[in-house]
Symmetry: C2
Subunit: 238 residues, 2 copies
């Protein structure tokens, strides 16, 4: 039987090059949306509602009982929201049974751009193994979709795409240089992900806000090993 | 004095993210347009006229005395043209004092997309050093622009961008993950460029047409070490 295809999209601007109607799209926004999502759901949040705009986030936060509004613009807590986009902000004592309404600069935007996909899941190093196990079991084409930073290629999302292919490549048919490149990078970086990523645009940007601990946290592999699926308009444990 | 900026654009679709009005843009299409251009000019061709369409290529080939029409579509000689896009087709005995009218799938298209740049040069491993020396001397911002394959990231153009940064990075201000990633890759590949590139989409595609020798040729460093500049509508030795 022919193996399903796996490809990597390095920027939302390149999304039109891929046909995703039959594919599982893995939304990747390592710093920090998809890491925060994995952490919050693993710590007991009921669901996460990703929204594109801050005002929609505020409106839903008022409408929905037991909701937390959260999100960032340009790396900082967006004005009008209660919380930021840090996986460290969502311990079990705080998020258990809550609904998080989340808006971020890159990750939630890409998620909405992929609404015609067969299925959407989210990926981060925190839940790498759950993502890999799920993709192998489904036997469907896969697009690893990097959120990047304002449409520019970034290193950390590419590294995660490489980590997925490094782990489960043998189960897929691959002829995609973006996947090859990401895998080469990951193999170079994997023994010290956090060290490798310190020379990257996003690390330098977020470090200025004192967010090094966030990024170190996001580089931990399988710490919040849940599968996260989009069901309707909500991200839930799959 | 502040150093000029250097950045890498991994696909023509990402070009709108970069402001190039003040920049020297290096058009990179290693397999094979910019390699063929360096080879033909180094072997004595007077000039190369890059055109977007096959019919324009044919028309100019008739109008211009001593012209050769050349080009490819999807890796093969385009119907109606005399020659293909192989650096091996243009020895001195054939091209000396000739004008080549050239159209290719990716490289000539990107070149036309960058017409608002301060200046355009072309780069390939065959003329790496000439490109590097020129960029260092100009002290201007640089965009390393990968032609890619039909807007998809490719490994060989990214490797060349990495080779440039690896060689002259210290003369520039860099905070661009595409440049970092390309440089990591190049450092992994540089001791055996041709071996490394054999696991790439373009190599697999062109191999089917028996073009391995072309690609091996394109992986030679500094074999045709001329600086190639766009002057008006013509590529000439700069």
């Amino acid at each position: 039987m022919a193996l399903p295809k796996i490809e990597t999209c390095l920027s939302p601007l390149l999304l039109p090059l891929y046909s995703i109607e039959e594919s599982i799209v893995v939304i990747i926004d390592v710093f920090r949306a998809t890491s925060t999502i994995a952490a919050a759901l693993h710590q007991g949040a009921n669901k996460i509602i990703p929204v594109a705009q801050v005002d929609e986030c505020i409106r839903l936060g008022i409408e929905i009982p037991n909701a937390i509004t959260a999100g960032e613009r340009d790396g900082k807590v967006a004005p009008g929201l209660q919380h930021g986009n840090s996986p460290l902000e969502y311990p079990r004592s705080f998020v258990e049974n809550k609904t998080i309404v989340l808006t971020t600069t890159n990750g939630t935007r890409l998620l909405h751009m992929c609404s015609n996909a067969h299925e959407i899941i989210t990926g981060s190093f925190l839940n790498l193994e759950a993502v890999c196990n799920y993709l192998v079991a489904q036997k469907k084409p896969v697009l690893l979709a990097c959120a990047s930073w304002k449409d520019r290629y970034n290193l950390e999302d590419s590294l995660f795409a490489g980590a997925v292919y490094d782990s489960i490549g043998e189960h897929f048919d691959m002829n995609c240089d973006a996947t090859r490149s990401s895998t080469h990078l990951y193999r170079q970086a994997k023994n010290d992900l956090y060290g490798f990523i310190q020379d990257s645009s996003h690390f330098l940007r977020l470090s200025k806000f004192g967010l090094q601990y966030d990024m170190e946290y996001c580089c931990q592999v399988n710490k919040h090993n849940v599968l996260v699926k989009l069901q309707g308009a909500e991200l839930v444990v799959g």
